[in-house]
């Protein structure tokens, strides 16, 4: 067992997780529930009904002030001016070489006020990066991680469940509103998620998170852990920073060119422009194993390339994942082989998402 678990950060829902029989594991400096009853049943609950995740390890950075948009336009790869008030937008944070530092959702809370959600493992470095570039800009960067717990309610029944607990209409996809949820005022309700299902994410003050959790679970949401979160996002082909995205990869090879608007002049835009124009040696593709076996992160692709995410798909019943392959071998349907711990496994390039959108 990992030593020093007492130094791990705890979410305000830890007691709820223990009571629900969760296995708690260290993750990015936090003690987080990896599973309750079992990854597969939690996964299926989210696909077919509704599940709730404690994702309070995610960080938040607020950027505000007259030049807040200008600062974010410089930092984030997407066109921040296109975020309507109460809108949300996905982007990556790049270094000067176009290497990916993080992938993020940014919400516009007011004309000059933005909230950016960071990955737990990158929060401190993202914050330092934001602060470093805000020196000569009339914008204030504030660490808001201590102000929010975060619950993701996901699945085909998620909206209906949360709607019944909420005093007003829920936000549409990729927008956000403040609502009273389960009697808790000023919950930031966001029409976003990381599962490939419809649903909402709730940003709530930490001391009020247990009340929201209790109401959502009492209404029938299945508690789901990081294990199911990972299998769900792989089926949906969402990137995980540290697996599919690293500082050694640019957003073009990662398949994230769609969220890069080089004309905005973001840091790394020139490198990204070059990568887009010249193409990249490798590209990230979804794949499925043909036959038996499950490829995992780090398994080499025979002839070049590497698996960056891999699991068993609870919906499909076979191994799936994402891998960087030589660009000339990335057409859907292309067969390739993976060295899985010394055994050669056959795989095929697929399209995203890996699971059918209508099931």
């Amino acid at each position: 067992m990992a030593a020093g678990t007492e130094t791990l950060k705890r979410t305000p829902l830890r007691e709820r997780h223990v009571a629900a029989g969760a296995k708690l594991v260290p993750f990015a400096g936090w003690e987080m529930p990896v599973q309750y009853g079992g990854i597969r049943e939690e996964h299926i609950a989210v696909r077919n009904d509704v599940g709730v995740f404690d994702v309070s390890h995610m960080g938040e950075i607020e950027t505000s002030g007259p030049q807040a948009e200008q600062l974010l336009q410089r930092l984030l790869s997407n066109d921040v001016s296109k975020i309507a008030e109460r809108g949300a937008q996905y982007s990556v944070l790049c270094d000067e070489r176009g290497g990916v530092l993080d992938d993020l959702f940014t919400y516009r809370l007011g004309p000059d006020r933005f909230l950016t959600v960071t990955n737990a493992s990158n929060h401190e470095s993202d914050l330092a990066w934001f602060e470093r570039h805000s020196a000569n800009v009339d914008a204030t960067v504030t660490d808001r991680i201590a102000d929010f717990a975060m619950l993701a309610v996901q699945g085909p029944r998620a909206r209906a469940l949360v709607q019944d607990l909420t005093d007003g209409e829920l936000p549409k996809r990729f927008t956000t509103v403040e609502r009273t949820v389960a009697g808790v005022p000023d919950v930031l309700v966001c029409g976003t998620g990381y599962t490939g299902e419809d649903g909402v994410e709730l940003l709530v003050r930490p001391e009020q998170a247990p009340a929201v959790w209790d109401a959502v679970t009492a209404a029938g949401a299945t508690p789901a852990g990081l294990g199911a979160r990972d299998t769900l996002r792989i089926e949906a082909c969402f990137h995980l920073y540290g697996n599919d995205l690293t500082q050694d990869r640019n957003p073009i090879e990662a398949g994230l060119g769609w969220c890069c608007k080089e004309d905005t002049g973001f840091i790394g835009a020139e490198a990204v422009r070059k990568a887009r124009a010249n193409g990249t040696k490798e590209k990230l593709v979804p794949f499925a194993i043909s036959g038996q076996g499950i490829a995992r992160q780090g398994n080499p692709v025979i002839g070049g390339g590497v698996v960056t995410s891999g699991t068993h798909s609870p919906v499909l019943g076979y191994g799936i994942g994402m891998a960087y392959l030589p660009a000339e071998r990335t057409e859907p349907g292309t067969a390739f082989e993976i060295d899985v711990r010394g055994k050669t496994r056959s795989a095929e390039v697929r399209t995203k998402p890996l699971i059918p959108e209508e099931r």
Binding site: I39, R40, G227, H312
Partner: protein, 128 residues
């Protein structure tokens, strides 16, 4: 099976394997604790009949949704039978780890190794 159990007629190895001894043949599997730690098993890579296994060395792989793990041999010998049913129904390892979830039968090369294994009480003690 939902509740922990460690049958008293089995021998246990520190890598969370059990062995059922019948003359010079031993049946291997993994313990309730091991399957609980793994979570739902989705794939068992069958070893080959005729393969030699050595106490303390991996002889098979078991995959759960979240990870792959080696299965360690509690005794040395030659594999004389594998549980083919696990190929299509690996969930037996979770549901019934001591009976239908058995993995291989081995003809022991050194039956005296059995003396080094734990009984159920000692194994349970080691888990606490």
């Amino acid at each position: 099976m939902a509740e922990a159990s460690y049958p008293s007629d089995l021998k246990y190895y520190e890598e969370h394997d059990w062995a059922r001894i019948d003359g010079d043949v031993a049946t291997f599997g993994i313990t309730w604790y091991a399957q609980d730690q793994l979570g739902e098993v989705v794939y068992f890579d069958l070893p080959e009949v005729g393969k030699t296994v050595r106490k303390g060395d991996p002889y098979a792989e078991v995959e759960s949704v979240k990870a792959v793990s080696d299965v360690i041999a509690p005794l040395s010998g030659e594999i004389i039978e594998v549980n083919e049913a696990l190929s299509s129904g690996p969930e037996a390892i979770n549901d019934d780890p001591y009976e239908s979830g058995w993995m291989v039968r081995v003809r022991m090369s050194d039956p005296s190794e059995v003396d080094s294994l734990m009984d159920a009480a000692a194994y349970e003690e080691s888990l606490s």
